[in-house]
Each structure stands twice: as C-alpha cells, then as structure tokens.
C-alpha cells in the first residue's frame, strides 16, 4: 500500500538528516506504529506519506514514495486526499467549520460529490464513529476525545485507503484515548484500513500494532514486529520493562498475554508484603482549600472543594478532561474566579499577594512551559530569572545544570526539546525558591526517557532538599503518578471523588490503573521498580 525506496529527508540549514535511507513497505490493512524520541522525525515521516513534507513545509527529499501505486513526487497533498486521510495532534486547529456534521461533509464538498451521495456518506461516517448524537453540536463545545473522533470522521469520509495519525491521544485522558484507539482498532479490522500512527505513550497502543517503526537518533529507521523492536528499544512501555525485569523469555505486549505467562510469579508476589505507605504527614500546611467553589459565568468548575497540601508531599491531581483540574491549580495562584470558600497559601490568600511575593511561595509551571519564558536565549532567560527573582547571578543556570544536562546556552528557548524547555521553566521557577511547586500536565510532550528524568527530578525536589518542598501535579499519565505521587486527589465534574494514598486510589479503578497493577492484580503493585525490589529479596 505504501512503499518507501531509498528515501532521505533533510531540511535546509539543518545540522542532520531527519531521515536516512528509508526502505520499507506497509501492506494493506496493517496498523504500523511509529516511535522515536521527541524531535526524532515522527511527524516528518507521517507527513512524508501524504506529501505535506516537502510540498507544504519545504525540505529536500530524495528517493521514491508511492501510495496505492501513486508517486507523491508530483502529486500535491490535496490530490491525494481521496487515498490518504490525516489527523493531526491538535484537531481543533484543523477544523474548518463550526458544526460536527458540516465538518465531516467538508471534504466531500471540496471534491464536488453529489448532495445525495454526500448525505449517505456523512450518515455512514457518523454511525461508524458513533457521532450521530453529536451531529448538530458546535465542535468547540465537544470534549477532546469527541473532537478527535470528529477529525477521524472528517478524514474517513473520503474513503481513504490509508489513515495517518500524529499523536492522536497525547492530549486526551485515559478514557477518551481508549475510545479513540478502540475505534481505530475496529476500522483496521472491519474496513481493512491501513493505519500509520505516531505515538509516544505506548502503553495504550502497543497491543493494537502489527509492526513498529522506530526512528533512531541519527535518522536511521528499524522496522519489525513489536516484540523484536521493543526488546532492544530504550523507548518501551512499563509492560515491556516488566517482562524484561521478570526475565520472561519473550517480551509481552498485552496484559492478557503477560498474565498467562506470569502465574507463578504472581503467586509469589501475592505473598510479599507491599511497601509500607509513608507515615501520616503532620508537616506544615502549605496550601489549604476550604469549601472552594469556582464558576465561569453560571457554569460551576469546582464545587465545595476542601483539602490540604502539607510540606514534603507529592500529590497528583487526576480526572477526565474538564473535571476541574486546571481551575483547581489556578485557584492556588489566585487566577480562578472563586465564588465561595477560601484558598490559603501558608495562611495568606494568593489573590492579595503581588506577583513578586507569590512566586516566593508557589512555583507554577503551566501546561505550555514556554509561556513562562521570554528570553532570547537560555543564558538570557536564566539571567532574567535571576534579576526577576532577586537572586545572585548564575543561580538559575546552576539549578538548570543540576536538573539536567543542559543544551547550548545560546539556543533560543523555543528551539529546545519539550523536555529541555520544561527543565528551563522549572529552573526559572525554582530560582525564586518556592515551597510549593505546581505542574500542569508536565509529561504531555515527553517521551519515556525524558519522563524518567522528570520523575528523578521531582523526587529529588521533595526528598533531597532540606527545604522539604511539596509538589502538586495535574496529569492524565497514570504511570507518572504511580512513580512519583504519594497521594492522589481524583476529581470528577468539579468534585473530589477520591482523596487518598496513591495505591488505594489507582488500584480502585481499572481505567486509571497503571499497567503493572493490571498485570499483577489482585496484588496492588504499582511500578516495575517496586516489583524488582520485592523480588530482589526472594530470588526469581
């Protein structure tokens, strides 16, 4: 269906080739997963297939790409729209109309399909993606998962043979992601659609993939079955790491598979006592919410929320998109419209603090860490932060160096990788030396390697600092929560539905359980490290 012959891609002024000497074929009805570090060229590869690279973005391409027998060299992406559908990372940016039904019909309108045929096709797609109840809704009012489904529907309506998806679930909560992926799975099986999917959160998709294409750091590409590729890849979901840690003969990809192979180990683990939860924290209360309600207009985002964050705690805030996580975090820095109740930061209302005073107490890294940065280069940014926060020159840079291996200090912050940018934003925040650090969706753009670095950084922030800081993270990433958080607060529709130790909260709901828990249930293990520790004492 898709064939690449000696394909190389380089962008003008780039220091390295993005992709080098690619040779592969994808057959009809295959689901191929593209993995690689952030910035390795996953998006470029996806866009190469339908010609958006180089027709739309520039770049120098050599070699030959054919899709369904048509070469993309001469054809523009628009001319391939009947063969290839593409769904981007942020579907909301790509919507042309305001209403679900019209959005799906848009592709047909541009192709001049007769109205009667069009009606039928739109109807089919609405049914296929279970969008019929939403047909007259405004797209902007839909949830993330629903929007992603609309985008897939809009691409499918032209009956393409190939569907390309660039990180379709990265902005979605686990349930919405499941919804999108199961639909993809069905499309592949029912319609024989060929799907190419770029993704960095593998735990969700790995079981659906027929083959994996891994893009290495030098633009080299290896392709093979998931088992082959993941056995040697540093990028791997917990389930693969678990099978490696348990020294299973083969890498397992689905919970069902690995459970069948680990019956005896599970029996052993059942009898090993779980790590003791930390003793009750009686530290000073850093953040306290008392019966807080937040409303935008007449719409309540939070109702009657009360909890305390004490010194030395890492607390995860979870819940579906729109459950009120961001509103809650923002209330801690006085940026939510609170209509009743009170928020106190070490006893004071953040609304009454000016910016300078606030950052001494709370450091807040927003969803886009880049929002915090406005310097022209890394070094410039660090010096500005020193000045803003009134600390000795060089403090911020030292913190940054301490956090991670820093990039070229003359690089522009926007040119950094997601992980590096997050690190820089975090250093800027830390140089004001706040007691409480708040992170909103920190792992959204991070691959596994960057994520494990973040986990270490966060642990160090809390454990190693004499100051005994606290960290609050809002995230969809259950694996991150399992690794770092001691406590989880679970929100639904603006109310707290669970608030307790991580182990209790995460193991209670199958949708939000980490992979290791799913594998080893009913024993409540959370992470691979825990299991390895436990088994270390009794030999495997």
């Amino acid at each position: 269906m898709i064939s690449f012959k000696d394909v190389s891609l380089i962008y003008p002024n780039a220091e390295r080739t993005i992709l080098e000497e690619l040779n592969f074929e994808v057959f009809e009805g295959e689901l191929v997963l593209v993995i690689g570090h952030t910035g390795a060229g996953k998006s470029s590869l996806i866009k190469l297939i339908n010609g958006l690279v180089p027709h739309h973005t520039g770049g120098i391409l050599s070699g030959e790409i054919t899709v369904a027998g048509r070469s993309t060299r001469q054809l523009k992406p628009g001319q391939l729209s009947d063969v290839i559908g593409i769904v981007g990372q942020n579907p909301i940016n790509g919507f042309v109309t305001d209403i679900v039904e019209e959005e799906i019909a848009f592709g047909l309108e541009t192709m001049g399909i007769a109205p009667e045929v069009m009606r039928k096709r739109v109807e089919e797609v609405l049914d296929l993606l279970s969008l019929a109840p939403l047909r007259n809704r405004e797209i902007a009012s839909l949830s993330g998962g629903e929007q992603q489904r609309v985008a897939i529907g809009a691409a499918l309506v032209l009956n393409p043979k190939v569907l390309l998806l660039d990180e379709p679930t990265s902005a979605l909560d686990p349930i919405a992601a499941e919804e999108v992926l199961s639909i993809l799975h069905r499309l592949v099986h029912d319609l024989g659609l060929t799907v190419i999917l770029a993704e960095h959160r593998l735990e969700r998709v790995i079981q659906f993939a027929d083959r994996i294409m891994r893009i290495g750091d030098r633009g080299d590409v290896s392709i093979g079955t998931p088992g082959e590729i993941l056995a040697h890849s540093p990028i791997a979901p917990p389930i693969v790491n678990l099978s490696k840690a348990l020294k299973l003969p083969e890498v397992s990809l689905s919970v069902r598979e690995i459970r069948r192979r680990t019956e005896s180990i599970r029996n052993v683990l059942q009898d090993i006592p779980l790590p003791q939860p930390a003793a009750d924290n009686n530290g000073e209360v850093l953040l306290s919410l008392r019966k807080v309600s937040v409303a935008y207009g007449d719409k309540y985002a939070l109702t009657n929320i009360s909890f305390d964050i004490r010194r030395g705690e890492v607390v995860a805030l979870m819940g579906r998109n729109g459950a009120g996580k961001s509103s809650l975090l923002k209330s801690a820095v006085g940026q939510s419209p609170i209509i009743s109740g009170e928020v106190l930061i070490t006893g004071r209302d953040p609304k009454n603090m000016d910016g300078k005073a606030l950052i001494k107490h709370v450091g807040y890294v927003p969803q886009e860490p880049g929002d915090l940065l406005y310097g022209e280069s890394v070094i410039d940014e660090c010096l500005l932060a020193d000045k803003d926060n009134g600390v000795a020159i060089g403090t911020t840079l030292a913190i940054y160096e301490n956090l991670m291996e820093i990039p070229n200090i003359n690089a522009h912050p926007r040119d950094l990788s997601e992980g590096q940018r997050l690190g820089l934003a975090l250093s800027v925040i830390l140089s004001a030396n706040p007691d409480l650090i708040i992170l909103d969706e920190p792992t959204r753009g991070l691959d596994y390697v960057a994520k494990s670095k973040l986990v270490k950084i966060l642990q160090n922030l809390v454990i190693d600092s004499a100051q005994n800081r606290s960290v609050v993270i809002a995230t969809h990433d259950v694996e991150l929560v399992a690794e770092v958080a001691a406590k989880v607060i679970f929100l639904a529709e603006g109310e707290i539905v669970a608030n307790g130790p991580t182990r209790d909260v995460l193991t209670a709901s199958p949708a939000f359980a980490p992979q290791v828990t799913k594998v080893l249930a009913p024993a409540q293990w959370l992470t691979v490290a825990e299991v390895v520790n436990a088994l270390g004492e009794s030999a495997i």
Binding site: L52, N93, D98, E102, G107, E109, A140, A155, N389
Partner: protein, 275 residues
Amino acid sequence: MRLVHPLIWWLWALLLATFVIRADNILIAAAVASAVTLVVVKLKSDNYWSKSFALSIRLALLIIVVRMLIAITIGVPMPGQILFRIPSITLPSWMVGIRIGGDVTSQRLTSTFHEVIIIATVILLCGAANSLASPHRMIRSLPKAMYNLGVALSVATSVLPQIVKSIGRIQSAKRLRGQKTRGIRAWRGIALPLLEESLERALDLATAMEARGYGYHGKTTKYRVEPFTFIDLVMIASGVYLVLLSATLLSHFGVVVLALFSLVIVASPIAIVKR
C-alpha cells in the same frame, strides 16, 4: 422560522449602516443601535464569534470617550456658547485656526457627539454582523475562483478568537513569574509567543484544508444547501427601504416617528428568524 444566510446578515448590516449615515441623526442612530443589540442578544449563537459583539460595544464606547476628549482639548475653534475654559497653548502664527486648550463651546461638543454616535453605531453594526453570521459559514459559500482568498480568510478569522485566549494564557503566565502584566515591556514579552502560536495555528489549518483537498477539484457541492428565501428578501428589502426613503420619511413624519419606525423594522428579524 429558519436560519438566515450569513451573507444576508452582512448585507443587512451594511444597509443599516448606510441608513444611519444618510439619516445623520442621533435619535435614529440610537434607535438602530438598540434594535440591533436586541437582535444580537436574541439571535446570536453560542459559539465564540458571538463574543465579537461585546467587543464592538467596548470599542464603540472607547471611540466615543476618546473623540470627546479630543474635541475638548484640540481642534478648530467653533463659535457658540462657552461652557468652560481650559488653559490654552499659544501656537505659532502659521498654525492659525487650530487651538490646543482654550474655550470649549456647546456647539463644538454637540457636533462632535453627533458625529461620534454615528460612527459608534456603524461599528456596532459590523460587530453585530460578525456575531450573527459565522465567518466560517460565509467563507464556505465563496465561489471556487476565490480559493486563495478563502484559505486566507479562514485562517485569519479562525486565528482571531484563539488569539484572545492565548493572550489570557500568556498574561497569567507572566504573573506566575512575578511580573506585571501591563506596560509596554510586558507586551513585548507577550507579542512574540503570541505571534508564533498564531502562525502555528494558521499553518495547521492551512495544512488541514490542503490535506482534505480544498481547492483541488473543479466543482464543489453543498452539503446543506442554503437557498435564498422570502425571509432573506424581507430583510434586504427592509434595509433598502430605509436607505432609499430615509429623506422622504424624515420630512414627512419627523424624527421621532422615523426613529420608532426604524426600531421596529430593525428588530423585526427577532420575530421571523431562527437562531
């Protein structure tokens, strides 16, 4: 009851603007402005375009205030009853006829007020058209020959509401760094990321349109055909009627009656149009 074609809303608003300018009367302008506000409140949809009316009200008020301030301080002297006097600057002899400060006459204020109310009403009408007719729907009714214009317009209009959101986000981020969010320096810090983000969005949309074959195929068709109907005709006719007959009506019935009359005519879509 049915939807009105987006083009009709624009045409209607333009005709009303012409009428207001031609009638050149504060009372009539006020009547049209209040009727249009009523129509928008009753008929606007819930999408983000509808917010542009609130924005245009603010803009209109701002223009009124600024224009009145200028009228008080600068301008050609106008004879009439002196209301009050502010300190004046003596200008060189070649700038004769211009004053800064000095006497403020009632004539000066009324004529300026008159003029600025008309301008404000026209701005309100544009805002109303924008919030009643989604630019997205309008662009899709453009003929194929205007393909490039269509892409450019879609991209431009879809970026606007997003920019408003981004400004809020970036401003709150500035506070998180302990900085003031007002002042020119702060704006420089906001402008760059904003520009970058908007460009990225625009590029995303252009890519999406391209990938879905926009502009590559000869004939396009309509999923929802939006024929011109009787209601469209009534709306346009009422606008044309007001424009053409404004002078006659004015001399015949006097200002008050015409103002009431136009209030009713302009507000009539509330009764016949579906939101």
